[in-house]
């Protein structure tokens, strides 16, 4: 049985607690790094949602989990707005597969 975790600045994620997801407010990079490692290695969480702002700082770490089946680390926009990092991630996987972004490149 897996749970779903949400990591990010408190303002961006506190609403998810009401839905029954587990929220982990994080303020700086080091805490985020430690927390992500702990959550991903623990095997308790199947999906970890992370705000784009925090993900920006933990890029290398997130890259590591890309090839594993679980956990899925998914970027979500924070309260301060959409940075486009999530869309960029989708485009990147197209680029990885095809060699160049043929689907969304023109947009």
């Amino acid at each position: 049985m897996y749970r779903i975790a949400v990591i990010g600045a408190y303002d961006s994620i506190f609403g998810f607690a009401a839905l029954g997801l587990e929220t982990f407010p994080v303020t700086d990079r080091e805490d985020g790094e430690k927390l992500l490692k702990q959550l991903a290695a623990g095997g308790k969480y199947g999906v970890i949602y992370i705000t784009e702002a925090l993900a920006e700082q933990l890029k290398e770490q997130i890259e590591k989990y890309k090839t594993q089946l679980l956990p899925a680390i998914i970027l979500i926009p924070g309260v301060s707005g959409n940075t486009g990092a999530g869309i960029q991630g989708v485009k990147k996987s197209v680029e990885q597969a095809v060699g160049s972004d043929i689907l969304f490149g023109g947009e």
């Binding site: 839905l19 029954g20 199947g46 990885q96 969304f104």
Partner: protein, 220 residues
């Protein structure tokens, strides 16, 4: 000329011929795998993009609702209201095999089946804006979980496609041409050896005939 040193022997030739057959067959299979993976990936990634746009829009509007809710309540009251959630979401991950790539399938279950359990507070001390905000977030949750499934699948498939593509290219542009070249080199070399043996035998025959009958001695 062959770059690597090959022994121009019949045994080596048989080995290389077998290798070529395997390589050609492997190339065809991998190419088929790549094409099929690519077809499925394209469908998946399009759905992924649509879902992502939808989810991002949903979260954005939910966040706006939360900001409005926050404006009409104190931070403490808000914090207390959401402190002890009633509802819990459990994820039941399964996986499915698409062209030998394991991709996840997420199924989720809530602790209680009651939709209203997302409101973890009494309605007396909170504004109705908070109810709206929580509701808008709850509406987007199924899509968020589907997004997680799709996005992870896309990432895994992209990695597999990249690997397969490299293998196809390596076979097509390096291994197969090189083996063909080596086979040609060995055939030529063997033919050359055969001709040289034949010439030597003819020469020996000439010499033996000369010795036995003295042909050609008259000219001297």
């Amino acid at each position: 000329m062959a770059q690597t040193q090959v022994n121009p022997t019949r045994m080596e030739l048989t080995r290389l011929k077998k290798k070529l057959v395997t390589a050609v067959r492997g190339h065809k299979l991998l190419k088929d795998k790549r094409d099929e993976l690519m077809r499925q990936f394209m469908d998946l990634v399009k759905a992924n993009m649509e879902l992502r746009e939808k989810v991002e829009k949903g979260i954005l509007s939910a966040n706006q609702n939360f900001v409005i809710a926050r404006a009409s309540m104190t931070a403490e009251a808000m914090h207390t209201a959401l402190l002890a959630p009633k509802q819990e979401v459990y994820l039941e991950p399964d996986h499915k095999n698409v062209m030998s790539v394991d991709i996840p399938v997420f199924d989720y279950r809530t602790r209680t089946p009651d939709d209203n359990d997302i409101y973890s507070y009494g309605f007396a001390f909170t504004s109705s804006d908070l109810d709206d905000a929580v509701k808008s977030l709850a509406d987007i949750l199924p899509d968020m979980i589907r997004l997680a499934e799709y996005e992870k699948s896309c990432q895994l498939m992209a990695a597999e496609i990249e690997k397969t593509r490299r293998r196809v290219n390596a076979l097509e542009h390096v291994i197969i041409p090189e083996t063909r070249k080596n086979i040609k080199y060995i055939t030529m070399k063997l033919d050359e050896n055969e001709r040289s043996t034949q010439i030597r035998l003819m020469k020996v025959k000439d010499m033996m005939l000369e010795e036995a009958h003295g042909y050609g001695k008259k000219e001297y």
